[in-house]
Symmetry: C2
Subunit: 260 residues, 2 copies
DNA sequence: CGTGCCCTTGAAGATCTTCAAACGCAGTGG
DNA sequence: CCACTGCGTTTGAAGATCTTCAAGGGCACG
């Protein structure tokens, strides 16, 4: 009853040349997880991990699985979501290259809270619990970096909790768009494009509402020239106006609004 | 405009005898933050912290302050909340002895996301950022313990986000009561008492609703013999029925219900 | 040209908030 | 002893917001 999109998990473990790994490793060392770490330590940590690939649509892990590894995204895009008891899905966010996911690994015996699905073809470095614990003991700064990212996650969650509690759907959608723009958007000529088969469903799951409501809100904004959408691609044409929505509550236009 | 309860911060730093500290230290070593750590390490870590006291109603820190210390509660009770832009308050939870609060300390330059207020007269051990970083480098296991508690915090937040998104107010209130019972409740003869000047406002801020709605829901449950409330004290007389509410959505009784 | 998927739109209705008012109880001061 | 005040709680009524259900539209793909 909750969409049987049970694609097989792909564990292709080759197909990337050593030269590419070098290139990825170089970029990963600049990721948040490695900031302030010495080059030698980064190398050692990266060498202790294993590379994993997933095709778009495949899963890295599924909610309920034993939480046994931490993942650092080298390329592609991953979405992380939680499924509530009645099948309702809550999108926690998208991970861009350099971002990590799959925390909860160090709580012994813990089950995964979320499902991580590749949205685009993706490549990650993964560490299992034992290796991770060993690395953190060897390089305490690495543990601290992990702690910092965990705290940022907490920050984001508190922010969202605040939005769900006190803000209107309009506000939440606007805020989500601004966040998405920063995470996975591409800016060109003042416009931001959010790409990668992006659907209303994603926005609904991010903001805790329905695709019907999202459709109505985006429809209103489209008529006002703030956003445009076509086939899995969303364009923010006027992000200043979006920011504006975040400042003032501005109930105003009930629906039939829109000049011209 | 958001209640000027700006009591002065008390920084009483004595009034507790060394013998008491010994006793508290002994109990703190069994807290989650110190699990699996050797006794000598615990001692060293505890000695690096400073003891702080607050009277009921006083603050340990305020949202917006620079986040400069981690706190471990030795005795008393602390509530942690976030205030949204319009003054709306979101209660993140209560901390019981052995619990810690005031994360976000290691993100350099970060501001406090929350306010921590003593609900009862409280005593804590606190570590500032530099000391904390030094301790974590000296005792990597301590860093890992911190990471684990951060992950548990994430877990709780995701759970609450799920509730806010998909569950009814009834469900959220029931769940909050069950959580509170576990955290700060005292069980006697099958009943659980939640004490300490507990008000409807707290429940409203925990569940993201209004005191009016909370009053109506609790009123219904009172008529059904599930809860009782008198002057800052809440009694859960039938927690099996509460658990039951969490299992089934059970819309049923719209308001005028309640037999005899 | 049909089928499937995603999006849109309308209408009805549930849930929860808001505002206003009253109640109960404790502490205070006459 | 009693009225007064303050705070927390209760209750009613009106109404906003968002969901749900049902149906239709547009576009790609086979």
């Amino acid at each position: 009853m909750h969409a049987g999109r049970s694609r097989t998990i792909q564990l292709t473990s080759s197909g990337v040349s050593p030269r590419d790994y070098q290139e990825y490793a170089k970029r990963l060392k600049r990721s948040e997880l490695f900031r302030e770490l010495e080059k030698a330590q980064c190398d050692s940590i990266l060498r202790s991990g294993t590379w994993q690939q997933r095709k778009a649509g495949a899963l890295f892990f599924r909610q309920g699985d034993p939480a046994s590894s931490l993942h650092l995204l080298a390329s592609g895009r991953v979405k992380v979501y939680h499924v509530a008891s009645e099948g309702h899905r809550i999108l926690l966010g998208f991970v861009a290259p350099g971002g990590s996911f799959g925390y909860g690994t160090l709580v012994t015996g813990a089950a995964r809270l979320t499902t991580a699905e590749a949205v685009l073809d993706s490549l990650v470095v993964a560490w299992d619990s034992e290796t991770l614990a060993r690395l953190m003991q060897a390089y305490p700064l690495f543990a601290i970096r992990n702690l910092v990212t965990a705290q940022e996650r907490v920050h984001l969650l508190v922010e969202r909790l605040e939005e769900f509690t006190t803000k209107s759907v309009d506000h939440r959608i606007a805020k989500s768009l601004v966040r998405l723009a920063g995470q996975i958007g591409e800016e060109t000529c003042g416009r931001v494009i959010i790409d990668g088969n992006f659907q209303l469903k994603d926005l609904a799951e991010l903001t805790g509402t329905t695709i019907y409501t999202v459709s109505r809100v985006l429809g209103r904004w489209r008529r006002q020239g703030i956003v445009a959408k076509y086939r899995g691609r969303l364009v923010l044409s006027d992000s200043s106006r979006l920011q504006h929505l975040l400042g003032e509550v501005a109930p105003a236009a009930t629906e039939q609004a829109s000049a011209s």
